[in-house]
Amino acid sequence: MNAVQTVGYPPSAYAFDVERIRADFPILKLQIDGKPLVYLDNAASSQMPQPVIARLVRYQTSEHANIHRAVHYLSETATAEYDAARRKLQRFINAPEEREVIFTSGTTDAINLVMHGYGRKFIKTGDEIILTTLEHHSNIVPWQMLAEETGAKIRVVPINDAGEVLIDEYEHLFNERTKLVGVTHVSNALGSINPVKQMIAFAHARGVPVPVLVDGAQAAPHLQVDVQDLDCDFYVFSGHKLCGPTGIGVLYGKAALLEKMQPFKGGGDMILSVSFEKTTYNTIPYKFEAGTPPIAAAIGLGAAVDYLSAIGMEVIATHEHALLSYATAQMMEMPGVRIIGTAKNKASVLSFTVDGVHPHDIGTLLNQEGIAVRTGHHCAQPVMQRFKVPATSRASFAFYNTLAEVDALIAGIRSVQKVFA
């Protein structure tokens, strides 16, 4: 008998040493007011493992200079490492070509790039953009700004009571004026996984194929993303939700589309030649990377996807799914607790309300137990309106979370209920 059996936990059907993983994350050793940190706010931002921290230190210690500029050793080193990071991200999402991966400052920046670069050039008065109720504000507001500017119209795909996009309604929204679809891969507020491959196939099957932008901010950290398999036209995500630094994100776009698009920001590095009479823009991806990019953050993100890939995205998804199922089963048994978002396919997010207790009070009381959750509207107010709640509490899991931490969350909610009894 050498296997350690923890009473009450479902048997582990996969080989995953979560304690060994946790040892890589210095921040997980923190105590909050004498209580061990239980970090369940991963959908907002994930934590950084030591190999990524070390990579950032090595870059700043011995490799830093500006890229694509000088002929000296440091500039050449920094350029080589920055370009290597782009290839790592290309492999991570299985993009066909390196030049289809553009570094942005994050998901929001990437969506704004597509709005300015594609939307402002190709979407005109009377044209229509299809979005879903599940979108984060960052995939709503840029398109509203475009609609206001151009007179284009936004059509919204409704969801059912489980928080699933209604595919029939989606298909009915298409007409000859439809010019773009924006859809989140995984809902940040509910965790629903959208059938994006099916939605993309439908958009492309039109007489004139409609391009689809997929917001992958919540999907890239939890699912194996393959942009060729999805056949999406744009895929966007952030580094800081992927164990990488803040200030870096990715826009993947099909080369043919990116080449047709106008630049978003003007400046250095995005040009081939400049005179006061005429400026010639650089080729992709540089056309969209004006000015000095976040070089260190890009290299750090490269190290982060190396780290995740070494563990394996499928292994990560399996462990996170076990955490979500375990937490969901326990929460369903709790009187007065309502899970918001019960889609069949979900990833890593558990949104809930507790009868008679405002989410902010839940958040503060859980914090007193060292438990970090997000409370509020999660930048997805249309979702809150759909479920007729002003806000929810949201626990979101990463691969370094444990079943014991789920137990801590459940115990924490019980003690909140006691305080408000």
């Binding site: 405002h358 902010h360 007193q368 408000f420």
Partner: protein
């Protein structure tokens, strides 16, 4: 010493569960609606004067326990005070919630000191001070208008309102308490 851990103590929980002066006023001379964009919470405060002093005051809204208890205790604390004295209390409460009030020096805070610990929780300070900002806005909503003039005009800070069913005159039952009715406070 103030400690945020003492925030969820008996007195605050009690005011959250059984808020005082919760409801609508039939004849408010001043009112305002306050919003916390961080969480979408909103609260409305309505009041009327008898000569110099606050005679009737009521609040209503959707909010967390900290905000609701703060509003409940605020209405109790300012009832009977002149506007000037109530404004002093507003300033003292705002100073306390942001950690700038020395509780050992003379002040009017009294039982409101249960909120002192909120200064340790920057994200919750707004919850505690929202009712007080709203009260301050209500005072200014008709700063130069008399009660009579006000009755015939739209209040500056109020949402468009209809007089809620069941709202009664202040002199009678004073308040209509209905925690399930989140309609804004109406004025006749």
């Amino acid at each position: 010493m103030a400690n945020y851990k003492s925030l969820y103590q008996e007195v605050i929980l009690d005011h959250n569960k059984k808020p005082r002066n919760y409801g609508t006023l039939a004849h408010a001379s001043h009112h305002a609606v306050g919003h916390n964009p961080l969480c979408g919470d909103h609260i409305s405060v309505a009041l009327s004067f008898d000569r110099e002093c606050i005679d009737c005051i009521a609040f209503q809204g959707e909010s967390c326990a900290i905000c609701k208890a703060s509003a409940s205790m605020m209405t109790s604390a300012v009832k009977g005070k002149t506007r000037a004295d109530a404004e002093i209390l507003v300033q003292e409460f705002l100073a306390m919630a942001t950690g700038k009030l020395n509780l050992d020096s003379p002040n009017q805070i009294g039982r409101l000191a249960v909120f002192a610990g909120v200064c340790d929780l920057p994200t919750r300070v707004k919850c505690a001070i929202l009712p007080w900002h709203t009260l301050h806005a209500a005072f200014n909503s008709v700063a130069s208008a008399s009660t009579e003039e006000f009755l015939g005009s739209e209040p500056k800070f109020a949402e468009p309102t209809a007089r809620p069913e069941g709202a009664v005159r202040c002199t009678a039952a004073k308040l209509v308490s209905d925690p399930n009715n989140s309609a804004p406070i109406g004025n006749a």
